[in-house]
C-alpha cells in the first residue's frame, strides 16, 4: 500500500501521522512554505490519491482542483462541512468520516460545559487560585443544573447521546431537527426560536451546512434570554458570533459554554474578559482513547480503499436501512456497500456486523436511513411492519423499497403518504392484493412499480424449478429433502 500517496493537511495526531507514514506514502502539506504551496501540490499531484483532513483543514474546492489523481478524502472528524461534497460527487471522489467513535466524548463535553457554565466551576477555580476565598469569603450562588429544560439542536448520534445524559439529571428534553424523531418523551419544535424560548439550556449538536449556518441567530439568542445558556459543541459558524458576544457582554444572554468558534484558533477578544462564559479550544473529541479510535478509522478506511474492500464509514452514499439481514438482506448490504452507502439494519436479534449499524426498532431504522428496504420473511410479527409511524420517520426525502411481501407494508398508509408527499418515493415489487395495484399510484411520478418479478430471471427460475423437482424426487425416493423449511 506504499503506492497510496496520502496528503496530510495539518498536524493533527502523532499516532495517525506515524501510522500514515508507516503504511502509506505520506506527504505532509506543511513541509512546503505557505507561499510555495501551489508548486508543492503540482509536483506531488500525480502521487496524491488520498487526502486526510480534519474539522479545521479539509479538501475544499481549490485543493480538489489541484489534485487530479485524488480518489478518497478520509476526514479525521465527523463533521465534514469543510469538504466540498458537491465537487467530490462530481469527480467520483469517495469521502469517509469518523462517526460513532467520538459521540460519547463530545456528548460528555457538552454536559460538562453546561454544568461548568451554570455552576461557574472554572470561575470558582480562578477565584480560589487568586486567594479570594480567604480574602473575600464565599463564592457567589449559582443555579442548579438538574431539572433544567434542555433543548438540543439536532437529534443525531451526538444529540441523542446528550439527551440520554441530561435525562439522568432529570432534565426535560426538547429538540429541533429536520424531521421529527421517534422519541415521544422528547418535545419536538418545528422552529428554533420557539425551541429557545421554551428552554433553559440550548445545546448545538447538528451538522453544519447551508441551512444551519448561523442557525443560532440574534432572534434565537433573544429568545434564550438573560437566564438562558448556550452550549456549542457543533461548529462556530452555527452561531452568529458577533451577536453572541454582544449578548453575553450586555447580559442579554445568561451564559455560554463554547468549544467552537467562527475563526479558530481565534476566539473573539471580548469574550476573554467575561465571567459568564467557559471557553475551550475545540477539544470535543480530544481524549487519548477517542483520538486513537478516530485515527484507526481513518487508517482502516484508507486501507480498505487501497485493497478494493468496502469502506468502513463512508459518508458519500445514501444511508440504506435493511429490515431483516438474512440471506437476501446481506446480499443487498454487500451490493450497496460497493456504492459507499452506509448500511443500517433492524432484525429481531442484533448480530455482529462491525460495519453495519444496528437499530433496535424499525422506526429508529427509518429515522436514520435515506432508503428503507424490506427484506424479512412475512409472518405474524412482520405484517404491516412498515406502518404509518415508520413511513413518517422515513419522511419526505425517504424512499421505500419493498421486495418482501405486500402485507409487510400498510398499503393504504403508503399510498396516502406518497400522494401527499409525506414520503419521498418508493420502488415496489409486491402488493397486498396482487395482481391488483392501487390505482392512485399510477399517476405518481415518484414510484416505480413492477409485477412481483424479484426472482424473474431465466437463470433463477430454472434453478428454482430444479430445486422444486429435486425436493419432490427426494420425497418420493425417501431421501433427505434438499431445502426443507424448518
Amino acid at each position: 500500500m506504499e503506492s497510496l500517496g496520502v496528503l496530510l493537511l495539518h498536524p493533527m495526531n502523532a499516532y495517525l501521522e506515524q501510522e500514515l507514514d508507516r503504511r502509506f506514502r505520506l506527504i505532509r502539506l506543511w513541509d512546503s512554505p505557505p507561499d510555495a504551496r501551489a508548486d508543492f501540490l503540482r509536483s506531488n499531484a500525480a502521487a496524491i490519491r488520498a487526502v486526510v483532513g480534519n474539522a479545521g483543514y479539509n479538501a475544499d474546492s481549490a485543493l480538489i482542483d489541484a489534485l487530479p489523481a485524488l480518489e478518497i478524502v478520509a476526514s479525521f472528524s465527523v463533521g465534514i462541512d469543510r469538504v466540498d461534497l458537491a465537487k467530490c460527487r462530481e469527480r467520483g471522489i469517495r469521502v469517509t468520516n469518523t462517526p460513532d467513535v467520538l459521540t460519547d466524548d463530545v456528548a460528555d463535553l457538552a454536559v460538562g460545559l453546561a454544568i461548568a457554565a451554570l455552576r461557574k466551576i472554572p470561575q470558582a477555580d480562578r477565584y480560589v487560585r487568586a486567594g479570594l476565598w480567604k480574602a473575600k469569603g464565599d463564592y457567589t450562588l449559582t443555579t442548579r443544573f438538574s431539572g433544567k429544560r434542555v433543548a438540543i439542536l439536532g437529534l443525531g448520534r451526538i444529540g441523542l447521546a446528550v439527551a440520554k445524559r441530561a435525562e439522568a439529571f432529570d432534565c426535560s428534553i426538547s429538540y429541533h431537527s429536520r424531521s421529527q424523531k421517534p422519541f415521544p418523551n422528547y418535545r419536538f419544535f418545528t422552529n428554533v426560536v420557539d425551541l429557545a424560548a421554551n428552554c433553559d439550556v440550548l445545546i448545538v449538536a447538528c451538522s453544519l451546512n447551508a441551512e444551519t449556518h448561523h442557525i443560532v441567530s440574534r432572534e434565537v439568542i433573544h429568545a434564550l434570554g438573560p437566564e438562558g445558556v448556550l452550549i456549542n459543541i457543533g461548529r462556530g459558524a452555527h452561531v452568529d458570533e458577533p451577536e453572541l458576544v454582544s449578548a453575553l457582554f450586555e447580559k442579554r444572554l445568561g451564559a455560554a459554554g463554547l468549544d467552537v468558534f467562527e475563526h479558530e484558533p481565534f476566539p473573539p477578544e471580548q469574550l476573554i474578559g467575561l465571567d459568564n462564559v467557559v471557553l475551550v479550544p475545540h477539544v470535543g473529541s480530544d481524549t487519548e482513547e477517542t483520538c486513537k479510535a478516530m485515527a484507526d478509522l481513518v487508517l482502516q478506511n484508507l486501507e480498505a480503499h487501497a485493497l478494493n474492500k468496502p469502506l468502513l464509514t463512508p459518508f458519500s452514499g445514501k444511508r440504506v436501512g435493511i429490515i431483516g439481514l438474512g440471506r437476501i438482506g446481506l446480499a443487498i448490504a454487500t451490493r450497496v456497500e460497493a456504492f459507499d452507502c452506509p448500511v443500517n439494519y433492524y432484525q429481531r436479534t442484533k448480530k455482529e456486523y462491525p460495519n453495519y449499524t444496528y437499530y433496535p426498532s424499525v422506526v429508529e431504522l427509518a429515522a436514520n436511513s435515506d432508503v428503507l428496504v424490506v427484506a424479512c420473511p412475512l409472518n405474524e410479527q412482520t405484517r404491516h411492519i412498515v406502518n404509518r409511524e415508520v413511513i413518517d420517520a422515513l419522511g419526505p426525502k425517504g424512499v421505500l423499497i419493498n421486495i418482501g411481501r405486500g402485507p409487510h407494508v400498510d398499503e393504504p398508509e403508503l399510498v396516502s403518504a406518497l400522494v401527499e408527499g409525506r414520503l419521498g418515493g418508493a420502488g415496489l415489487d409486491v402488493f397486498e392484493d396482487e395482481p391488483n395495484v392501487p390505482e392512485a399510484l399510477f399517476t405518481l411520478d415518484n414510484v416505480v412499480l413492477v409485477p412481483h418479478v424479484g426472482s424473474g430471471t431465466h437463470e433463477t427460475r430454472q434453478a428454482m424449478a430444479d430445486l422444486v423437482l429435486g425436493n419432490l424426487e427426494a420425497h418420493v425416493l425417501k431421501k433427505p429433502l434438499l431445502t426443507p423449511v424448518v
Binding site: Y57, D108, L109, G112, I115, A124, R144, G147, E264, T287
Partner: protein, 338 residues
C-alpha cells in the same frame, strides 16, 4: 393553619414560639425565621455561648424549645451544650453533615434532631460530576489556556488530550443519597459504578468493596461522598492513593478531613495520581498554595450546595421541620443515631 398542639405547649395566642439561632448569616433563611418565630440570635447577642444559652432560659413568652444550628462551624451540639440549654427539645441543622451533633447524647435526652435530608443531594451530585468531567477533560485548564491567548500560539490540535469518561470504573466512597445520585448520573455516561460503605446495600447491583484500598485498586476514579466521623477521617490516605494509581483521579465533595491533604499533594506532585477535583479542604478557607500551580486539579470554594434552588429548598425544609415540631407532628427529616 390549624395546629394540633396541646394547651400546655402552645404560647399565648398571637405570640410567636422562641427559636435559638446559632448561625452567622443574616439572609434569606434568617429573615424567614424572624417572620415566623421570636428569634434569639447568638451571633447578634455578642455574648459567649454559655452566657447566651443561660440567658435564653428566661426568654418570653417561653424558653426556646428549638434551635437552628449550622455544620462545619465552631458550635458543637454536645453534652456541654445540651447541659447549658436543658429547655431545648429540638435541634434543626442546615447541613448535610452531622459531625457537629452528638446524636447519641440528644437521643438520650429525648432531643429531636432534624437534618438537611436530601435537600443538597442533587446539587452536590451535579457538582461532583462537573468536577470529574472538568478534571478528565481539562475544562478549567483549557479555559485558562484560551484566556491566556495560547491557542493561536500553540496551534490547533496541540492542547494535551484528556481522558474518556465512558468505561471508567468509578469507586464511590459512601453510597448514601449523594453517592447514589452521583452513581445514577455517571451511569448515563457509561461509567462502571462500584462502592465502599460500612455495609453492602442489597438494593443496588453495584460491586461492593469492604475497604477503600481494594476499591481504589480496581477503580480509575474515586469519589468521596461519605460523612466525616472518627472512622472516615483520612479515609483516603497515601496507601489508597497509591492503590488508585498514576492514571487515577480523586473527587472530593464530602469534607476536607476525609482526605489526608498532605498525602494528596505529595501524590499529585510525584505523579502517583493523575488529578483531583476538590470542593473541600482540611482548613477552609485556607487552600494549600501547592495546588495553585497544578494544572491537573480543579478547586472550588466548598460551594457544591450553593445554588439558589438549594437555598430556597433548605429554607422551606428548615421552616417545615420547625413547624412540624411546634405542631407536635413528626419531623420532616428526623435523624436518629446510627
Amino acid at each position: 393553619m390549624a395546629s394540633a398542639i396541646t394547651a400546655s405547649t402552645a404560647p399565648p395566642s398571637g405570640a410567636k414560639h422562641s427559636v435559638l439561632l446559632l448561625r452567622r448569616a443574616n439572609d434569606y433563611l434568617a429573615a424567614a425565621l424572624r417572620a415566623r418565630y421570636h428569634v434569639l440570635s447568638f451571633y447578634d447577642s455578642g455574648e459567649p455561648l454559655p452566657a447566651f444559652l443561660a440567658a435564653s432560659a428566661a426568654a418570653e413568652p417561653e424558653p426556646p424549645r428549638a434551635a437552628l444550628v449550622v455544620g462545619g462551624g465552631a458550635i458543637r451540639v454536645d453534652t456541654a451544650f445540651l447541659d447549658a440549654a436543658p429547655y431545648l427539645r429540638c435541634v434543626v441543622t442546615t447541613s448535610a453533615g452531622l459531625d457537629h451533633v452528638d446524636l447519641a447524647e440528644c437521643a438520650c435526652r429525648g432531643v429531636l434532631v432534624a437534618g438537611a435530608g436530601e435537600v443538597f443531594s442533587t446539587d452536590v451530585a451535579d457538582h461532583a460530576v462537573g468536577l470529574l468531567i472538568d478534571v478528565l477533560r481539562k475544562v478549567s485548564a483549557a479555559d485558562r489556556y484560551v484566556r491566556r491567548g495560547l491557542w493561536p500560539v500553540q496551534g490547533q490540535g496541540d492542547y494535551p488530550l484528556g481522558s474518556k469518561l465512558g468505561g471508567k470504573r468509578v469507586g464511590i466512597i459512601g453510597l448514601g443519597n449523594i453517592g447514589s445520585s452521583i452513581a445514577r448520573r455517571l451511569k448515563a455516561f457509561g461509567c462502571v459504578i462500584q462502592y465502599h460503605s460500612r455495609r453492602p446495600k442489597d438494593t443496588v447491583s453495584f460491586k461492593y468493596f469492604p475497604d477503600v484500598t481494594s476499591l481504589a485498586t480496581e477503580s480509575d476514579v474515586l469519589i468521596v461522598a461519605c460523612a466525616l466521623n472518627a472512622q472516615t477521617q483520612h479515609i483516603v490516605n497515601m496507601e489508597v492513593l497509591e492503590a488508585l494509581g498514576e492514571d487515577g483521579v480523586v473527587v472530593n465533595i464530602a469534607r476536607g478531613g476525609n482526605i489526608d491533604e498532605a498525602a494528596l499533594i505529595r501524590a499529585l506532585k510525584g505523579g502517583e495520581i493523575a488529578g483531583a477535583g476538590l470542593d473541600v479542604f482540611e482548613k477552609e478557607p485556607e487552600v494549600p498554595t501547592d495546588f495553585f500551580s497544578m494544572d491537573n486539579v480543579v478547586l472550588t470554594a466548598h460551594e457544591a450546595v450553593f445554588t439558589t434552588e438549594s437555598r430556597s429548598d433548605l429554607c422551606d425544609l428548615m421552616i417545615g421541620n420547625l413547624e412540624a415540631f411546634f405542631d407536635g407532628k413528626p419531623l420532616l427529616t428526623h435523624v436518629l443515631p446510627k
